[in-house]
Symmetry: C2
Subunit: 447 residues, 2 copies
Amino acid sequence: MSETTAITLSNALCSGRTTALALIDAAFDEIAQKDPQLKAFIETTPETARADAIASDARRLGDNSLGPLDGIPVAIKGNIARYGIATTAGIRAFSNRIATEDAFVVKLLQSAGAIILGTLNMHEGALGGTTDNPFWGQCQNPLAPGFTPGGSSGGSAATVAAGIVPITLGSDTMGSVRIPAAYCGLWGLKPTAGLISNRGLFHLSWTLDTIGPIATNSTDLTLALSVLAKYDPDCIDSCRAPDGWTAHQPSTNLSDIVLGVPNDTLLADCEPEVKAAFNHLLSAIQAVGIQTLSVDLSEWQPTRLRRAGLLISEAEAGHLLGAALDKDADGFSDSFRDMISYGRTAPGSKVAAAYRCLSEVRSGVCRELQGLDAIILPTTPQRAFPHVSPAPASQADFTALANAAGLPALAFPIPALDHGLPVSIQLVGNAFSDGKLIALGQMLSSI
Amino acid sequence: MSETTAITLSNALCSGRTTALALIDAAFDEIAQKDPQLKAFIETTPETARADAIASDARRLGDNSLGPLDGIPVAIKGNIARYGIATTAGIRAFSNRIATEDAFVVKLLQSAGAIILGTLNMHEGALGGTTDNPFWGQCQNPLAPGFTPGGSSGGSAATVAAGIVPITLGSDTMGSVRIPAAYCGLWGLKPTAGLISNRGLFHLSWTLDTIGPIATNSTDLTLALSVLAKYDPDCIDSCRAPDGWTAHQPSTNLSDIVLGVPNDTLLADCEPEVKAAFNHLLSAIQAVGIQTLSVDLSEWQPTRLRRAGLLISEAEAGHLLGAALDKDADGFSDSFRDMISYGRTAPGSKVAAAYRCLSEVRSGVCRELQGLDAIILPTTPQRAFPHVSPAPASQADFTALANAAGLPALAFPIPALDHGLPVSIQLVGNAFSDGKLIALGQMLSSI
C-alpha cells in the first residue's frame, strides 16, 4: 500500500478495482511483514477489521457507501479507546484496561466507514518524544532505520510512513502529533482546542491534549478532519466552530496572503539544515508575492513554556494516574513514574504559575495573529535522530505554542537542501482556521 | 447625599443646582462624620478630589462636560491602583506600596470625569467575606450597625449604602462584589471575564478576579458599566465583546423571557427568609407570564467548587505574595498567612484538579444557558449577619459559579417578607449579556 493515499484507495474501491476486504488483508500482510521490526502496533484487531471490511463491501455493492473513507484502513494511537481492547496509553500498568465504549472519534471514523486495524505504539503515557517504549518496543522511523519516528504518537506516524494505512490518529499535548509527522515526512494537524472531541482519550493533560490526524498529504488530512470535527455535547472541552472550520480559506490572490514570521533569535538553536530549508522556503514564499511580516512573540519564551507545559502535564497526569501508580508502581517505567510523582507533589503556586504562563502566551499569539493568515515557523528545531542519541530537550519548543494557545497548528514536510531526511514546517493559525491552514500548507508546499 | 443617584446628581450638575466641588465637599463631610464608625475607607484623597472637581466645574462652564459621570464622586476598592497612593489590598505589609500608575479602570473613570475620593476598606487580601480587617478596622453595614457589610468589597458596598457616593468599584473573585451588594441591599455586577480590564488590580486570583461596579440602582450600574467596559490591549485577560455588551436585550414581551431555575436541593440550606423571598419572586415572575425552566447544574457542586476556587486563590496568591510573606510575615494576619502558605505548597495535582473543576462547571452552566435569558438564584444563602457571629462557610456558594464559568452575574435586592434586611437575587447569563442582565434585573425588581 506504499505511496497510496486514502483518495486513491477510495477511487479504487469506487471503480471496483479492489475491495475493502482486499485492502484490509493487504494491510495485515504488511503489518505481519514489517511490524516485528517497526514496532508500530500495540494491538491489532484483524477479526473485527475483516468483519467491518465485509460490511463495507456489502454497503458498496448495495450503493449505500458511507463516503470516501468507507472501506479505508486506519489505526488509532494506543491512548484512544476502542471497545473491547485495552487502552494502554503505552503504560504496562494498563495492559488490561479494556475499553467499555469506543472513543467519540472512533465512532465518527466508523460512521464514515473507516476500518480500524488496531492501536498504535506511543511514548509511554504520551509524555515524551521518541516512542522508545519500554513495554511495546522501540518504534522505528520508516525513513531511516535506527532513527526515532518522534513521539509521542510515533506509532501513528510510522504506520503511515511505512505505507500500512493512509490515515492514523494521534494525540498532541505539546507536539505529539506534529513532532512524529515532522520526523517521518508527513502531514499532521493539531486542531483548534475543542474542535475534535477528546472523549475516550486516556488523558495525559486535559488542558493541553487534542486528538489529531496524520496523513501523507493535505487532501487526506482534510478528509480526516471533515469526519472528526464534530461537536460532542458529552465532552466538556468540545466546542462548536462559530462559522465551521472550513469557512475561512486563504485568498487565491497570493499577494493578499500575510504570514507572520517570528524573529531570528527563535531559530538560533535550530539544526542548520532546518534553518536553511526554512529560510529557503521563506525566500520562495516572498518571491511569489506572499507577504511576510515579523511578529513580536515576546510573551513566548519557548523554554519557559515547555517547562510550564511539562509541569501541567505532570500535575494533571499525577491526578489521573496517582492511584494506579500507588497500586502498581512496577507497571510504569522509572522515569515516567518520577515525572508523575513530581507533578503530584509539586508546589501548588508553581503549578498555578504554569497555567498563567499558558494564558500569557495565548494572549500574545492571539494579538499577533490579528490580520495574519498564519504564523510560519519550523515544526521542530531538528530532524529525526538516531534512537541511540539522547533526545534533545528542545523537541517540543516550537510546537507547545499552539497547545498553550488552544490554536490550530499544521505540520507539513519540505525537502531538506542536503537531500537527507525531510524538514517540517508549521503553520499556526487563528481559532477554527484549521481548514485554511491545510489549504495554505498545500499552497506553500507546491511553491 | 443619601438616597441620591448618579443620575440625579448629574441632572443637578447640568441644571446648575449644584457644582462638583459642592458634591465633593459634601461627600468628605459625610466621610468625616460617618467613617470613624463605618470604617469604609482606607485612604482619602481630598486634595486631588477637590482639584478634579474644580476642573470638572470648569469643563461644565465651558460646555465641555465629559458626560453623565463628570463631577460625580466615586471611590475604589483598596486593591485597585491609584497613582501616588498605596495599593494595600487590605494587607498591612503593603501599606507603603505606592502605585506608580493608575489602574485602567481608574483612567476610564477619570476620562469620564468621575472624581475619585479614595480607596476603600476590604477583607484582608480580598480573601474573605466579612471585611473585618485587622489593620483598617471592622467595616460596618450601614443598614444594621454591628452587622457585616459582607466582603471582600465591604467598604465598596458600605460607602454606597451609607449614601456617601453613588457608585464604587469592587473586585469579585468568588462573589466579592455581589456578597456585599447583597448584604447592603445594593446592585452589584460581576461582569463577563475580560469585559472590564483587570490591569492595575492587585490580584488575589488572576483566574477568578474581575473588577465590578456597585450602585443603588440599575441605571447607575449601567452607566458605570458603559464607562468601564472597554478593551485594554495591554491586559492579557481583556477581551472584546463580539457584539458589544449592550447588543442583547431582554424581550419586551414577558412571555418570551425564559429563566432557568436550579432545582430545590440547591436551596436546601438557605436561610428561610432567603428561600421565602426567592420563591415569592418566582411566583410573581410566573404570574406575569415569564417562563421558568428547571435547569440541570449537576456538574456544579457548590461546596466542591468553593473549595476549588479557594485552593486556586490560595495557590495563585501564594505565587503573587510569597516573596512578601517571606520578607514581612507580620504584615499579614495569621489566618491569611496560613491560607496563602497552604496554597504555596499544596500538592500540584490537587491544584490541577481544582482548575479542572472550574472547566467542568463552566461546561455545565454554558450548556444549560443555551436558549435561556439567564439563570436565577439567590445571591447568598443568608442575609447580613452580626460581626460577632462566625462567618458561614456558604457565603460564596452561589456566587462562585459565575467566576468559575467566566460569565456575568448581577446581584439586585428584593424585600424580605419579614420586612427585615433585604434579600438579594442573582442573575447569571451568557457571556457578554451583562447589559441584558441589568435590564432583566430592573424588570424583575419592578414586578
